[in-house]
């Protein structure tokens, strides 16, 4: 009976030791957080997304200009082949493609962001360091200013 208890206690001790080991690893992982390195990787993705957002704003302007005549709705409904209708169809295709590309890019940025901000950078101070490093990296890496 005593041997059984000792065995159980040994087992519990091992579990505790393992838990301490895991906790130490977790702390080590957080210490390993390198804002500079992560910000560089993140900025690369964000710059690509930024370019697509710029394109979306440009395309939105084209729609505004195209529709400033307020004729587009009519020609589109009549399904004729006026230049307005043809331009609208062209813009619609461009828009569809742009939205797909933009969503894919947003997904990859978000995935990486979540990993950093939720898992790797736990404290507000660490997050602030990453924010600052990313802002600096965006300035350095992005050919375009914020949209």
């Amino acid at each position: 009976m005593a041997a059984k208890h000792i065995k159980a206690i040994n087992k519990a001790g091992s579990i505790l030791l393992f838990a301490f080991f895991l906790s130490a690893c977790h702390q080590k992982k957080q210490q390993d957080a390198d804002p500079q390195q992560d910000a560089m990787k993140l900025a690369k993705l964000v710059c690509e997304s930024r370019e697509l957002t710029h394109e979306k704003f440009t395309l939105a302007q084209k729609y505004q200009q195209l529709n400033s005549t307020n004729k587009i709705h009519i020609s589109y409904r009549n399904a004729d082949s006026t230049p307005i209708k043809l331009n609208k169809v062209k813009l619609d295709k461009e828009k569809e493609l742009l939205i797909k590309m933009s969503q894919a890019k947003s997904d990859s940025v978000n995935h990486f962001l979540k990993m950093l901000w939720v898992t790797k950078y736990q404290t507000n101070e660490q997050k602030q360091q990453l924010d600052d490093a990313m802002t600096a990296e965006l300035k350095k890496q992005c050919p375009l200013a914020a949209p």
Binding site: I9, A12, A60, Q64, L66, I72, Q103, M134, L138, A146
Partner: protein, 454 residues
């Protein structure tokens, strides 16, 4: 045994860690052995809001009012499926318009539930139902995958009968909330967001189309049922400035302010305009943006399940009512947009910084919704003064920089001002819109008995 005290300490530790929290509600009901909702991490619920943002963007017919409604019912289903694990008196049944007391399924006393599994089931099911007809195949699969993935991680160490019972409870809550949603006036409104036929009122002060969309969005939305039982008209803003083309009139001066502002916008003001524009095409709308900010704050504080579902329900209810109240005002007034006024009476070549949305000006939708959000954020995260270091990282995915504010008021004001910098709203639209939104948010905080000290 050489070190008996060590054995005792270790044994006590093991016994303590193996103990199950017993969830005893305020009125003494017990769900024996059910862990309280606060003992679960809320991150899996937040992942649904990330997905919902993506689904709003990719589903036809989801304009700002439709999106606010979908988010609201999703948040209510999440909340109701976990609330027995928070407080026995926290249900919204009996507190919201049209949702009578006792109308929602209840867990069986004495049975064990896992509130994380039940809210996983309710949330996924409610998202499916809110987008059901127009959802893309990819997005439908994404909901299934997220539900399965969450279920798998939440089920570790949970017995099969608890899993089955908790899931069934969650699904039954979603079904009941969905039935409730059918009678609010916005049911499947994404199939007909323009609510045609609709005859545009005419007159010199009346809204006319300003861009590609010739029909205004959801002109009858203001007749929908709000959640708050108080008279929504009590939050109504004052009448807008009387129409005039006289250069000394209030509306002319307001239009001139827009004109001058757009001509002299700084780079920072243009950045602010675009940051809050929620991008021109695939946006998850102002409500989605505000909920993304909420998700970020909950992530930062590692909020548990109780806090997470409570926060989303607060915000969801407020956003839904904000859009109903705002739309009621928009179509009662039907005020033209600044670009129309300026083109007619000040400068025919004037253009806005971003596209003008296809609905009347007074009051601004962004301002009302962020005003409501401001009141909710202030209640959730501060002692009432609204002072809180807010950082919005949700727009980084589109290439924007991170933006930070010292308080929720500061954030809300910037959002409202962005519509003025963009040339798409008069200042009166933003100022009175923000005030209206704050009143709505305050009503949501005070007129519903929410669980306290979560």
């Amino acid at each position: 045994m050489k070190k008996p005290y060590l054995v005792i300490i270790i044994s006590l530790l093991i016994i303590e860690s193996c103990k199950k929290d017993v969830n005893i509600n305020n009125n003494g009901n017990q769900f024996l052995s059910s862990k309280p909702a606060k003992s679960f991490d809320g991150a899996f619920i937040r992942s649904y809001y990330d997905l919902t943002c993506k689904i709003v963007k990719g589903t036809p017919g989801f304009f700002p009012p439709q999106a606010s409604r979908a988010y609201a019912y999703i948040s209510i289903a999440s909340y109701e499926s976990a609330v027995p694990g928070i407080s026995s008196s926290g249900s919204l049944a009996g507190q919201l318009n049209g949702l009578s007391a006792g109308s929602l399924p209840k867990p069986v006393d004495g049975q064990e539930y896992n509130w994380a599994i039940s809210s996983n089931a309710a949330t996924s099911e409610m998202i499916r139902r809110m987008f059901e007809i127009n959802i893309t195949k990819d997005n439908a699969t994404a909901i299934d995958n997220l539900e399965t993935q969450n279920k798998s991680s939440l089920s570790a160490g949970v017995s099969n009968d608890v899993i089955t019972r908790s899931e069934a409870f969650g699904k039954s809550i979603a079904a009941a909330i969905y039935n409730y949603s059918k009678t609010d006036g916005g049911y499947q409104s994404y199939l007909d967001p323009f609510q045609l036929p609709y005859t545009l009122p005419t007159g010199p002060d009346q809204w006319v189309p300003t861009g590609p969309v010739l029909s205004p969005v959801s002109p009858k939305w203001g007749a929908n049922r709000p959640f708050i039982t108080a008279d929504i008209m009590a939050t109504d803003p004052p009448p807008c400035y009387p129409f005039s083309t006289d250069s000394s009139s209030l509306i002319y001066k307001d239009a001139m302010k827009v004109y001058v502002q757009v001509k002299h916008n700084t780079t920072e003001q243009i950045n602010i305009t675009k940051f809050w524009a929620d991008d021109p095409f695939n946006t998850c709308t102002p409500t989605g943006h505000t909920l993304n900010i909420l998700s970020g704050l909950l992530d930062d504080s590692h909020a548990d399940l109780a806090k997470t579902v409570l926060a989303y329900a607060h915000m969801g209810v407020a956003e839904n009512d904000a859009f109903i109240a705002c739309w009621k005002c928009k179509y009662k007034t039907n005020l033209l947009r600044p670009v129309t006024y300026i083109n007619r009476y000040i400068d025919a070549s004037f253009t806005t910084v971003i596209g003008t949305p296809p609905f009347p000006a007074y009051v601004s939708g962004h301002s009302v919704e962020i005003g409501a959000g401001d009141a909710i954020f202030t209640m959730l995260f501060t002692n009432g003064d609204g002072i809180y270091p807010v950082t919005d990282r949700s727009q980084v995915q589109y290439g924007f920089n991170v933006r930070s504010w010292k308080s929720f008021d500061e954030m809300a004001k910037e959002c409202a001002d962005s519509r003025f910098y963009g040339g798409i709203h008069f200042q009166q639209d933003n100022q009175f819109g923000l005030e209206q939104g704050k009143k709505i948010g305050t009503n949501v905080n005070t007129m519903i008995q929410w669980p306290q000290n979560i």
